[in-house]
């Protein structure tokens, strides 16, 4: 990790590959969090009062 960093450079945009990995990682985490099924069966759920 102490090697010289690699950069993506397009016009005015410039970012180190490491930072890019982290940013993409955040977007991926967000996407997975929204799409992966959440464990836990709904059968254990209690019916509340007053709602259909």
């Amino acid at each position: 990790m102490n090697l010289k960093a690699v950069y993506i450079h397009i016009g005015w945009f410039q970012m180190s590959v490491t930072n890019l990995i982290i940013v993409i990682g955040m977007v991926v985490l967000f996407g997975l969090a929204l799409t992966l099924p959440f464990p836990g069966n709904s059968k254990g759920n209690k019916k509340g009062k007053g709602r259909k």
Binding site: M1, L3, K4, A5, Q14, V17, V23, L34, N45
Partner: protein, 318 residues
Amino acid sequence: MNDRRSELEAAPWSGRTRRYDLIKEGVAALVVVTIATVALSTLFGSPDDKQITFKEWAVAAPADFYATTVQELAGSSGTGGYGAPYNTASDGVNLGPLHLAKLMGVTHPVDTVNDFVITPLTTVVNSGPVADALKQWQSSDSKTQAAWATNYDNALTKANQDATKVPSGNYGPVPQLSGGLLSMAQAGSLDGALLSQGNYFQSDNTKQTLFMGDGSYFNDQSTASNLQGSTWGMMNETGRYPGQAWLWLYSFWYQIPPFNNGDSHPFGANADAWIMVIMGALSLGLIIMPLIPGVRSLPYKIKIHRLVWKNYYQEENL
């Protein structure tokens, strides 16, 4: 939004519930994050590029150190002409007619001549010529001192920082003083003297940092590590480590016009102040985002929430 809906959303939930163990969830999160942190720490360690000392600078780039010292004596360095909070040499950065730095005054006085050069020189035993030069300097009035230093500074700049190519002139003791400080720095005694300024306890590195920043050596190291603000350096870290990616928006403004237009352009010269104001406003915007028309309606229009609550919407036929 209508009040009735808000009322319902604020009321305690009376619909279906599910078992949920908050404490177990918290402990699990702590365990997972701890393991992940230990793993990355073991695999990658952390960045720690060695600090630059004045000794390192003076040994590695003596001509640069020498020329910077001359500039400090002449008051032509970056710090010398900075203005508030260090001195009154200029009005500093402005927001149009607003000179906020100047308004707050000189709260951290820095006298480049004495703090950076003369006082440190008085803390060591100098060789004959340097000691004589110091005496000559101290017994002259400030006008003469400034004239000597400016003459030599200009001549040295013309000679491309090569002291051996400077023609003789009315420089007073300036060459000897600068040479004396160079030897002192090379020997390693300037680092401590700059910090302590004749005191015992000292925890303020302002003077060292300003002096070091006036030279090229420090700046060149930072350029080599891609840390310059004009090339997104704010987000970067030394080596291949992740930097402060959360500063992307702050860093962004420095890359685009009019803020990257250079010091001759009013927005380029005062980019620091304008960008600080922009980021202050945007931060406030984030804090009160739910009150901002348009932005606060986005979640209703782009229905990402249907993914979050897809099970519930399915079960309730919503």
